[in-house]
């Protein structure tokens, strides 16, 4: 027995297809999670008790349970409440909901980090509440939440691997299947680790670049 990754790489088209599904799920899940998470944060901030309490509870439950369990429940438990989804839509929905819970906390902290005085200054010059959100809160918050949001995107990228257990034909499922067929388990796991790591590095670099570009908008700590 020898260590030979070529056994796996020989099936490149299948791997690329798996990588495509992973990328797609990741990007869609991140955008979906960030969008829903933002709406949840807005709901908790401006929605009063009626909206704030159930949203807060949902976020706590989602953050307090493993993604593995959530995705099992959604996929195998969904049909009991009439929610029978194919693996890919189920995976996307699960990733979005899971991501939304964390993103909502990031945005909540972002809202809270914009100094009250910046909003008061906007009120004083006559901006309406919606103008304040659009022109002051959102842009200021973007700069503040960028580092934790990128971190969350990286976590979601790696969580897509868990979707293999509900038979989403993403990278982990594809490569480990090839590994089983070829009796090349270590090679397949090694390649998977390399692939995820490269993707995370690229994401991180892009994030750093964006942070750097936005850094001049940060206010001085004085």
């Amino acid at each position: 027995m020898s260590f030979d990754v070529n056994v796996i790489l020989a099936q490149l088209p299948a791997i690329l297809s798996g990588a495509g599904v992973t990328l797609l799920l990741w990007i869609a899940g991140t955008i979906g999670g960030a969008t829903v998470g933002f709406l949840v944060a807005v709901g908790r901030r401006y929605g009063g008790r009626i909206l704030g309490w159930p949203l807060g509870l949902a976020v706590e439950v989602l953050r307090g349970t493993p993604f593995l369990i959530q995705i099992f429940l959604l996929y195998y438990g969904g049909p009991f409440i009439g929610l029978a989804l194919d693996p890919v839509p189920a995976g996307l929905l699960g990733l979005t909901i899971y991501g939304a819970a964390y993103f909502s906390e990031i945005f909540r902290a972002g809202f809270a980090a914009v100094p009250r005085g910046h909003i008061e200054a906007a009120e004083c010059v006559g901006l309406s509440p919606s103008q304040i959100v659009r022109r002051i809160l959102l842009p200021e918050m973007t700069v503040l939440v960028l580092p934790p949001a990128i971190n969350m995107a990286v976590i979601l990228m790696k969580e897509t691997a868990i979707l293999s257990i509900i038979t989403v034909p993403e990278l982990t499922l594809t490569v480990s299947a090839i590994g089983s067929q070829q009796y090349a388990f270590v090679e397949s796991l090694f390649l998977l680790a390399v692939f995820y790591w490269v993707l995370v590095e690229v994401t991180d670099k892009l994030g750093r670049y964006a942070e750097h570009r936005l850094s001049r908008y940060r206010f001085s700590p004085t």
Partner: protein, 263 residues
């Protein structure tokens, strides 16, 4: 007697059980500099913030040029909220300058000054920026128009904040400890801008620990202590002897800090 620019009548502000303003009555005469002085916690900043409608008073009335700000009160004490659009129009006659400058960090100096002209007053970018630039010239910062707040000194940031308020052509300017987070040198450049403004006849209300500024530029000094207005008057009267014992005690703490000329 001329109509006061701002009239405060029996203003009470409570946070829960704690009253921070116990029924303040104060007239701000137009075209003059009114200074609010007093120890920390005396309620002077709260009073100023009520005038800017950043705090809602518990009871009492504030009028701007005779029009109710925020709430109107019937003789029986029934309070009624002024509709938001009307209230915004009344508030727009008032400019506010904060201790912490509160510039928006994601906009340049020019962007900060022109923002409300564009979003609130729907001016074109060219017109808004021309008017904003004129204000920056006035505070001596035309060369810094393209700088972000993080690239400006505290004194420069505060001058941009003053320009931002002035760009909307307010009739009254409120200053909440505008120099308290600046070192003495930067304090000087901000006070100079305020002196120029006073010389132009702007109606100003200034909460400040700069007793020297209050004594030389202020036309009326109001001394607050523990949420009560102890007395009001021209500087010569307030700082001249004999002084109110509470003021005497307060000024003692300033003798080493540039107010020795009053001793």
């Amino acid at each position: 007697m001329t109509l006061p620019a701002i009239a405060v009548r029996n203003l009470v502000k409570r946070y829960g059980d704690t009253a921070v303003l116990h029924g303040i009555d104060l007239d701000i005469p137009p075209g003059q500099v009114s200074c609010l002085i007093g120890p920390s916690g005396s309620g002077k900043s709260t009073l100023l913030r009520c005038m800017a409608f950043l705090e809602e008073a518990t009871s009492g009335v504030i009028t701007v040029d005779g029009e109710d700000l925020g709430f109107s009160e019937s003789p029986s004490g029934q309070r009624e909220r002024i509709p938001p659009a009307t209230n915004r129009a009344i508030r727009s006659r008032i400019g506010m300058v904060f201790q912490q400058f509160n510039l928006w960090p994601h906009m340049t100096a020019l962007g900060n000054v022109s923002e409300a002209l564009r979003t609130v007053h729907k001016m074109s970018r060219t017109d808004a920026e021309a008017r904003a630039m004129a204000q920056l010239v006035k505070v001596g910062l035309e060369a810094r128009a393209g700088h972000y707040p993080a690239q400006l000194s505290g004194g420069q940031q505060q001058r941009v904040a003053i320009a931002r308020a002035l760009a909307l052509k307010p009739k009254i300017m409120l200053f909440d400890e505008p120099t308290s987070s600046l070192d003495p040198e930067l304090t000087g450049e901000v006070l100079n801008v305020m002196r120029d403004l006073a010389a132009e006849g702007m109606t100003m209300v200034v909460v400040s620990h700069e007793i020297g500024f209050a004594a030389t530029v202020g036309s009326r000094i109001s001394f607050l202590d523990q949420g009560r207005l102890l007395f009001s008057g021209p500087p010569s009267e307030v700082f001249g002897k004999p002084r109110h014992p509470r003021l005497e005690q307060f000024l003692d703490t300033y003798l080493d800090r540039g107010a020795s000329m009053l001793a």
